[in-house]
């Protein structure tokens, strides 16, 4: 039995097609990541799977339970962290946790084992109001609240948005540990660097899954050499790159521009062209593609992958 199963799931808001015939499966004990920009339809998908919304068409099941017919049973076995979830700011850490425990008909003590690793980090602040916690702590507390009733499937909608990099890393380490305890996790994120920690990822855009694969599978399928280009005048560089006749695509990536060339183009030719345009300290080096590069390429030319 799959942890999550959907078939041709569609949902429209008026004329906007938020979900367009999405079919996918999540295996038990898998971390399944959905990567996509804002407005890709991630939150809609989460809400349908957590029984908070009805799809227009298609089928979906969580742990073999139908999201429409068996919604009450599903609500007992899932943990859900909505996007921009902010807990009760005026309740203390402990009160928040205790409240969510009782709402799910359990106690902190009964399931302490599951959250122990995470909760120990915020326990020194258990008398502090949730509103006074740092972003990373809030996420940890929210995760504890979502876990306190020992869910079989965990739904995390952009759990690390607005959280500092160190806390993000810790958060993902926790997810990996939870997975080891047999919890299936569906997680969405706009951060491509988090994708490599998932067992499988789906690249999502415009309500559709563009591609589903393991992170190495996705990166390995990048069909072109990828070049990172830098020069002294980064500002002017992008427009000059776009003027290069053998350019396939280029986009800003951190401190450099990632560039894919047409077969006629070579890095040496590009360097020559750019110095002809008056650029100094030009560096062109080959790099290994990341998930984000795959995603950018896919957005530019959907037929390639």
């Amino acid at each position: 039995m799959k942890a999550i199963y959907t078939e041709q799931l569609s949902k429209a808001y008026g004329r906007v097609q938020a979900l367009d015939a999405v079919s996918f499966e999540v295996e038990p004990g898998e971390i399944y990541g959905i990567i996509g920009p804002d407005g890709a339809g991630k939150t809609t998908l989460f809400r349908i799977l957590t029984t908070l919304m009805l799809a227009d068409r298609g089928k979906a099941a969580v742990e073999g339970l139908d999201v429409v017919k068996d919604f009450k049973a599903i609500r007992r076995i899932i943990g859900y962290m909505p996007g921009h979830f902010s807990l009760y700011q005026d309740l203390t850490v402990e009160e928040n946790l205790r409240f969510f425990a009782t709402v799910f008909g359990t106690t902190i003590e009964a399931n302490y084992r599951l959250i122990e690793d995470i909760y120990r980090q915020i326990e020194p602040f258990r008398q502090r109001r949730a509103g006074k916690l740092s972003g990373g702590m809030k996420q940890k507390l929210a995760l504890c609240c979502a876990l306190i009733h020992q869910p079989k499937v965990l739904f995390l909608d952009e759990p690390t948005t607005g959280v500092d990099p160190v806390s993000r890393k810790e958060f993902w380490e926790m997810l990996v540990r939870l997975k080891a305890q047999g919890i299936s996790i569906l997680v969405s994120t706009p951060y491509m660097d988090e994708a490599k920690l998932c067992d499988r990822i789906a690249l999502m855009q415009g309500g559709r899954f563009l591609r589903v694969d393991t992170p190495p599978g996705i990166v390995g399928s990048f069909p072109y050499p990828l070049w990172a280009v830098q020069s002294k005048d980064m500002h002017r560089l992008l427009s000059d790159l776009r003027g290069y006749p053998h350019l396939r695509s280029s986009y800003s990536f951190g401190e450099s521009y990632h560039v894919v060339l047409k077969p006629e183009g070579t890095p040496g030719d590009l360097k020559e062209y750019l110095s002809g345009e008056g650029h100094k300290e030009i560096e062109v080096g080959q790099i290994i593609p990341t998930v984000e590069d795959c995603f950018m390429l896919m957005l530019n030319e959907k037929e390639v992958l």
């Binding site: 809400r47 609500r75 996007g83 807990l87 005026d90 709402v103």
Partner: protein, 368 residues
């Protein structure tokens, strides 16, 4: 049941930890009662009086002198024609017009009944009734004085007339009005805000995705405000009885029962509002403008319903506070039994049932 009580406890935490809101919740009834009780009913002092005296005899002169001699009145004008009465009120300086009958003294002497008309500006009923009360007091004293002069033995019959407000609602009618307003405000506004806040923070999504049933969530949200409103009800009644000396003539149990019904109605109205809006600001605006204005203007709190244009009277019929205030006035001030307020209670019960049904139907087990 444990999730329910835990939920109620959480709601109380929210309320108690927001000190400012709690101060408003508990302080507002006190301030409003005192405001309406003391500040708004102004004292009668040096009220300008116009007199129409076609009789001009010794008795009318005595009465005019006594009026002038008191601290309360100031003879400002002698009218020559009854047609001027309206005009002097419209000018706004005159607070009372005294109209003597023709041949006042001879009426008093021969028939024993002389009539005098006291006309006040009923647009401010509190002030008007105070003025007539003072003037009547002076007239009674004059009557004894005239009787003491052995010249006459008749009675002066003051005929009171409040222009624009013939019912002459009495000063302490505001207590039922304030009750209606406060309970409506606290219950409807606070519940709707409390529910919408959970939508805003995203916690409602978690609660909906939890095994908790929607009806439990709703009742748990309502319970604390029900308790708070009951506290406010007690505050208002105590203040009104012991500070403002407005007696509770009727059955206290009946009064409390009707009030609890109204509280429940207001809570369901708040629930309905929370179903249709998505931000705390919108909830505040809808309950503020959509509820407060009708309650203030159309419930009889400030303007008597009887003197409204007919169309507004019809509109006021759908304002729950109108029926509540009417019922409380009857019970509290007139001291009637249940059968006399059966109509009002029936209408309130009907409205409550309707609102509960609509909001429960609308409260989704899912989002949007």
């Amino acid at each position: 049941m444990r999730p329910f009580f835990s939920f109620v406890q959480k709601e109380f935490f929210h309320i108690f930890r927001d000190k400012r809101t709690m101060l408003i919740l508990l302080g507002m009834p006190i301030i409003q009662m005192l405001l309406f009780g003391f500040a708004i009913s102004t004292e009668v002092k040096n009220t300008k009086v116009a007199v129409f005296d076609p009789s001009k005899d010794a008795s009318t002169r005595l009465i005019k002198e006594r009026l002038q001699a008191s601290n309360y009145f100031d003879l400002a004008e002698e009218l020559t024609d009854p047609g001027q009465i309206n005009d002097v009120f419209k000018d706004g300086n005159i607070g009372l017009v005294v109209v003597f009958s023709e041949g006042f003294a001879s009426d008093l002497r021969h028939t024993g009944d002389a009539s005098i008309q006291l006309i006040t500006d009923g647009t401010d009923p509190n002030q008007a009734s105070l003025i007539t009360a003072y003037a009547t007091g002076i007239l009674t004293a004059c009557q004894q004085e005239l009787a003491g002069m052995a010249e006459v033995s008749g009675r002066i019959v003051p005929e009171l007339k409040m222009l624009y407000n013939p019912q002459g609602e009495s000063a302490y009618n505001f207590v039922p009005g304030v009750m209606g307003m406060i309970l409506m405000l606290i219950c409807a506004m606070m519940t709707s805000i409390a529910i919408v806040r959970e939508k805003e923070t995203g916690t409602m999504e978690i609660l909906l995705a939890s095994p908790m049933r929607p009806i439990q969530i709703i009742l748990a949200k309502m319970a604390p405000y029900f308790v708070l409103s009951a506290v406010n009800l007690a505050t208002i009644l105590l203040l009104s009885a012991f500070v403002l000396h407005v007696p509770i003539v009727g059955n206290l149990g009946l009064l409390v029962a009707v009030s609890l019904l109204f509280i429940f109605l207001a809570l369901s109205l708040g629930l309905l509002i929370s179903n249709v809006v998505n931000s705390q600001m919108a909830a505040m605006l809808v309950s503020g403008m959509g509820l407060m204005m009708p309650v203030m203007l159309l419930s009889g709190l400030i303007f008597p319903i009887e003197s409204m244009p007919e169309i507004l009277q019809w509109i006021s019929a759908i304002v729950p506070a109108r029926w509540f205030i009417a019922a409380v006035r009857k019970i509290m001030i007139q001291g009637v039994e249940f059968h006399a307020v059966a109509k009002e209670v029936g209408i309130l019960a009907l409205m409550t049932g309707l609102l509960i049904a609509v909001s429960l139907k609308n409260f989704k087990t899912r989002l949007s």
